[in-house]
């Protein structure tokens, strides 16, 4: 069971693979990630793929609104892993 901090870092790494130019330090973890980091739907889908591969957590389309921010993603993964 990973703590939220390292989960956020790990997701951050995945984001950097997709958008190497982003400055994660500037990102407010509660902010809408797609807006802040200029990620389009293709980028976002690739991120979900990476999350699925890394954490074994599948985020279906119906849950997309629940994972808008970095914090929300980390929470989601953490909860999914507990189950």
């Amino acid at each position: 069971m990973t703590d939220l901090g390292s989960l956020k870092s790990a997701v951050g790494e995945l984001i950097l693979n997709i958008a190497p130019d982003v400055d994660l330090k500037q990102l407010d973890p509660e902010a809408d990630m797609r807006d802040e980091l200029d990620l389009d739907s293709m980028d976002f889908l690739r991120l979900l793929e990476a999350i699925s591969h890394k954490f074994g957590v599948n985020i279906p389309e119906t849950d997309y609104q629940k994972v808008a921010s970095l914090q929300a993603i980390a929470d989601y993964i953490s909860n999914a892993q507990i189950k």
């Binding site: 739907s41 279906p60 389309e61």
Partner: protein, 412 residues
């Protein structure tokens, strides 16, 4: 023996570097094989070979920078080519990647060359004359001389004075004043500047030469959206399909019935293309634009389209775009679907004759079956060359795309 030259991917590319050879002397190659990775400011582009044959010699080393048009390899063709074909190449189009094709084997390749659209997409006209001094100056300034109007020399030849007067005009424009301080000392700044200039070149010429007309249609994507929700529901992310793929498939198929929007206008003549090579306009994260062709898009089903689109974005970002992708688009699609605009009125990239824009998916009040409902819609816009097509056909094209989007399952 066929000479393979350093290809040009645009006006601003006066030199190129073979980052990596993918073949060795003595190796057999087939048309379409990738023989080298060329370093450009947009990243690494994979260079294909256009003939079957055997690599005879590699003439430049990896990492060596050479002028565009200079020989980088020799290919022994399966059939012989008379050597006298080659001098023709040097005179006419040293900067173009495919000058040997017209005289050589590639007559079956119907489309004229489309040089990457974000640079100046120039017609591969063989009649543009330019003095060596003018050409050198143009290259220094990053001006695409092949896209220029005839100059003051004999038979419309472009002379040094023509380039110099262009330079003077450029210097006094506002944009230039803004741009001057931004000339960074580092490479990436200079590269960005060149890219901007190249884009400016294309769009300016397009607006000057092409009589654009504009049409828009708001299309209900309720059916597509609902279909996608069901389709994607139980699928892992790597198998999900985005609405972009659906729209691209619909556009490609519709275009097969409207050839006046899919082809090239060059030297006062329109030549419709046999296939739809959909130009996917992809934004570079660091600024700028790449238009990468999806070949034979009309034949591609939804699942395949999604895979190709994803793969293309990855290669645009990480390197590995192929030369044929950068050159072959017969029409461009500009998709701002995720960004904050309802519709886009685009600029056609010559020598293409149309460009389709896709706005963001949005919820609006909509009339369906005589009732007001909430529907997801997308505004699809068409900018087209009025020398080639009329509004009536344009409207029918948009209508056709609309109809296809009402039955997304048929695109599978």
């Amino acid at each position: 023996m066929k000479r393979i030259d350093m290809p040009s991917f645009g006006a601003d590319m006066a030199k190129g570097t073979v980052a990596q050879w993918k073949v060795t002397p003595g190796e057999e190659v087939k048309k379409g094989d990738i023989i080298a990775s060329i370093e450009t400011m947009k990243g690494l582009i994979d260079m294909e070979v256009f003939d079957d044959g055997i690599i005879e010699n590699l003439l430049v080393a990896e990492g060596e920078e050479v002028k565009v048009g200079s020989p980088i390899a020799e290919l022994r063709l399966k059939e012989d080519i008379p050597l006298k074909a080659e001098p023709l190449v040097t005179e006419q189009q040293p900067g173009s990647v495919m000058p040997t094709e017209p005289q050589a084997k590639q007559i079956e390749k119907q489309q004229p060359i489309v040089i990457p659209l974000e640079k100046s997409a120039i017609a591969p006209a063989t009649s543009i004359k330019i003095s060596p001094a003018a050409k050198f100056k143009a290259q220094q300034l990053g001006i695409n001389w092949q896209g220029l109007a005839p100059g003051r020399g004999p038979e419309g030849a472009i002379l040094l004075a023509d380039i110099e007067s262009l330079e003077r005009t450029e210097r006094v424009t506002e944009t230039d004043k803004l741009v001057q301080p931004q000339i960074a000392q580092d490479d990436s700044g200079a590269a960005k500047l060149l890219m901007r200039k190249a884009i400016a070149d294309v769009v300016s010429r397009s607006k000057k030469d092409i009589p654009h007309y504009y049409l828009e249609l708001d299309v209900s994507v309720e059916k597509t959206k609902q279909w996608l929700v069901e389709f994607n529901a139980d699928l892992p992310p790597e198998q999900r399909i985005l609405i972009n793929a659906v729209i691209y498939c619909a556009i490609a198929r519709a275009l097969m019935h409207f050839p006046e929007f899919n082809g090239f206008y060059q030297q006062d003549t329109f030549t419709p293309a046999q296939q739809v090579h959909l130009g996917n306009a992809i934004s570079l994260r660091q600024g700028g634009l790449v238009v990468a062709a999806i070949h034979n898009a009309q034949r591609i089903n939804l699942k395949k389209m999604m895979i190709l689109l994803k793969d293309q974005v990855i290669r645009v970002r990480e390197g590995g775009l192929r030369m044929s992708e950068m050159q072959d688009s017969t029409i461009t699609v500009s998709n701002l679907g995720d960004r904050g605009c309802d519709r886009i009125q685009s600029i056609i990239f010559p020598p293409q004759v149309a460009i389709i824009g896709i706005g963001r998916q949005r919820s609006v009040p909509w009339v369906m079956d005589e009732k007001i409902v909430i529907a997801n819609i997308v505004s699809i816009s068409l900018a087209a060359d009025h020398r080639v097509s009329d509004g009536h056909m344009g409207a029918r094209l948009l209508d056709s795309i609309d109809n296809l989007l009402q039955q997304p399952e048929r695109l599978l």
